[in-house]
């Protein structure tokens, strides 16, 4: 059976995933992905009706158990400096990043 995830498709996924991989790592990961895909193809054996609903979580959330939506009120975190302390590079309360690439939309 030929691989569903070809090197070309794989390279595109790596780009989307914002990763860069060594040749050796790419080879291992692509092989594992294709093996996983074989297991996933098992899903095709099962007759699934178009009317079968999509379940995005198992437990139903009827209104009586769904928490009410919070008031839309400003609730600032009391210690914002502790959040900023975690950033690798900051300057006067701003997070510093390198040059942001621009793409002209056609």
């Amino acid at each position: 059976m030929t691989d569903s995830i070809t090197p070309e498709i794989f390279d595109h996924l790596v780009l989307l995933a914002a990763l860069e991989l060594s040749l050796e790592e790419a080879d291992y990961l692509r092989r594992q992905l294709n093996n996983q895909l074989k297991a996933i193809h098992e899903l095709e054996r099962i007759p699934v009706d178009k009317d079968t609903p999509l379940t995005s979580h198992g437990v139903p959330y009827p209104p009586q158990i769904t928490p009410p939506i919070r008031e839309d009120e400003w609730d600032p975190f009391p210690r914002s400096e502790e959040i900023l302390e975690q950033a690798p590079e900051t300057d006067d309360g701003y997070i510093i990043v390198p040059e942001i690439p621009h793409t002209e939309l056609e």
């Binding site: 996924l13 914002a18 990763l19 899903l43 609903p53 995005s56 959330y61 959040i83």
Partner: protein, 534 residues
């Protein structure tokens, strides 16, 4: 028996009465940890020594000082007549996937190795407010992605206290191993496909996956947001119930934390099983798995020793008055793993996109041209291969041209898995079950290195536990004895939504009827030679 071997319930009771101090209980847990745990998991750990191979290595971070302050506070409260709460002075650990303000939260990944969260997860906060004493944070598979703990970036990874050549299971392997070895009476784990129940089974302890939404996920580093459930690991059913009572309930910080009052599980825990209807399904006594050589899917019966253990448990529950209903069909059980391969990967890819080397966590030290390169290098160097695999698969199966074929199909299969459970629990249906009794795992703990590296085979370790995550229903794994290799066997009870109370009842009834069984007196291998101070 030392203090650290006492159940949480008994410890808290004695501490609240002033018969024992929280500091004494803490000392005992720290002594045990010093005796069995060995060096903690670290990045760049070097080679393994012979001694390393005989230790548990549950911890990533031991917070002795913090624990001591908490224990002293509990003792002060008792001395001044204030009730410290139901977990008074009980030492516990937490899987290092929960945030605790001021303590590192690594997720066992290089990408979060330097992250110190500014807030505390709701279930941890509730345990501390109930008087619990947090010993520290324990190891797991990187970002919870695994069933053996071996994928942790913090090595040595945790080993099974019953046999240190075997894995503890995962991903809450540090939690299960710590509890089994007496390094804390309780641990807070998470279960996304079986990550509490499977290691509990492998390590001979009790593990609970509560109903989805029963316990808040606030402060839990997310994997599969529609599947993740924080849950207790304990040595006894009563301890697990005590802990769930503390951590469960609505939380304004988590919109999926269900607005349902929490039952007082302890009130009914010893009311027996008479009249409860417990099912057995042939679909949980066979497994499908990919042949390691050819990759072809094969169907086989589960280990005969595990099957016998489940049948023995069913027999004893029947003697106690439960109705055992055989041949309950669960036809979609074996689609759980393929559907999980799709759903969990899409959710993981989405959740992992936040790690970018900008706001917190690892940033590449290399010079970069622009932000895109910063993202790619930081993520490439920070993530291990398991997160990378999940991101890539999630991207693939949710891509516009494939999503109907894969993602939407998996979500429909998820509906079918849920409908299997709805049918058997329907109070007006044919089966009207209160619980389904199954093995927790197809095998007992496997050898370290035997499965790791084969991401497909590893995933299939969860096939008897993952249906409950798709369906959202609660489950509990109970220790029921040992196989001929001396490794613990676990059985699983699965109930309808929010039926934890009944699962604890059945579990406790089983525990009481087996109290005098010879296997209950066995102790983990790592405790051999440790002086019992009585």
């Amino acid at each position: 028996m030392e203090l650290c071997d006492l159940p949480a319930f008994a410890l808290a009771d004695r501490i609240r009465r002033g018969e024992l101090s929280a500091v004494e209980a803490l000392e005992s847990a720290l002594d045990r940890t010093a005796a069995v745990d060995g060096r903690p998991g670290t990045l760049d750990s070097g080679s393994m020594s012979r001694e390393d191979e005989q230790k548990v290595h549950a911890f990533i971070t031991l917070s002795e000082e913090r624990a001591r302050l908490q224990a002293e506070e509990v003792d002060r409260k008792v001395a001044s007549g204030v009730d410290p709460g139901p977990l008074a002075g009980v030492p516990f650990t937490i899987k290092d996937i929960f945030c605790v303000r001021g303590a590192p939260a690594t997720a066992a990944s290089r990408i979060l190795a330097n992250f110190t969260p500014p807030y505390t997860a709701t279930p941890v906060l509730r345990m501390e407010q109930a008087g619990g004493v947090m010993l520290g944070k324990v190891n797991l598979d990187e970002f919870t992605y695994g069933s053996s703990n071996e994928s942790s970036a913090f090595q040595p990874s945790t080993r099974n206290p019953w046999n240190t050549r075997r894995v503890p299971g995962g991903s809450s392997g540090g939690s299960a191993a710590a509890v089994a070895a007496g390094e804390g009476a309780l641990s807070l784990g998470t279960d996304t496909a079986g990550s509490v129940r499977q290691p509990a089974a492998f390590c001979g302890v009790v593990g609970v996956k509560p109903t989805y939404g029963r316990v808040s996920r606030f402060g839990l580093i997310a994997f599969g947001s529609s599947l993740d459930c924080p849950g207790p690991v304990a040595r006894t059913v009563t301890d697990a119930a005590l802990m769930l009572r503390v951590i469960a309930g609505p939380d304004p910080h988590d919109a999926t934390a269900a607005d349902i009052p929490v039952d007082d599980y302890l009130e009914t825990i010893e009311s027996g099983v008479r009249g409860l209807r417990i099912g057995l399904s042939p679909d949980y006594f066979r497994i499908t798995y990919p042949d390691p050589q050819t990759g072809e899917l094969r169907e086989e019966p589960i280990s005969p020793e595990i099957e016998a253990a489940v049948m023995l448990a069913a027999g004893r529950l029947a003697e106690l008055g439960a109705d055992i209903i055989e041949n309950v069909p669960m036809p979609h059980t074996h689609y759980g793993i393929p559907a999980y391969f799709v759903i969990s990967r899409v959710e993981a890819a989405s959740n992992l996109h936040r790690y970018d080397g900008v706001k917190y966590g690892y940033r590449t030290p290399e010079m970069v041209e622009n932000l895109g390169e910063l993202y790619r290098k930081s993520r490439a160097q920070g993530f291990g291969s398991q997160p990378k695999l999940r991101i890539l698969m999630g991207m693939y199966v949710s891509a516009a041209q494939y999503s109907e074929q894969y993602y939407n199909r998996a979500l429909r299969v998820r509906s079918l898995i849920r409908s299997d459970f709805d049918t058997i629990y329907d109070p007006n249906g044919k089966y009207r079950l209160d619980a389904l009794l199954t093995p927790t795992t197809p095998t007992t703990a496997f050898e370290m290195g035997a499965v790791y590296g084969d991401s497909v085979l590893m995933q299939y370790a969860d096939q008897l536990t993952v249906p409950a995550n798709h369906a959202g229903i609660p489950g509990i794994s109970l220790p029921v004895g040992f196989d001929s290799d001396g490794l613990p066997i676990g059985i699983q009870l699965l109930g309808p939504d929010f039926s934890e109370r009944n699962l604890f009842r059945i579990g406790r009834a089983y525990e009481m009827v087996t109290e005098e069984d010879a296997w209950r007196s066995r102790r983990p291998e790592v405790l051999e030679g440790i002086e019992d101070k009585g």
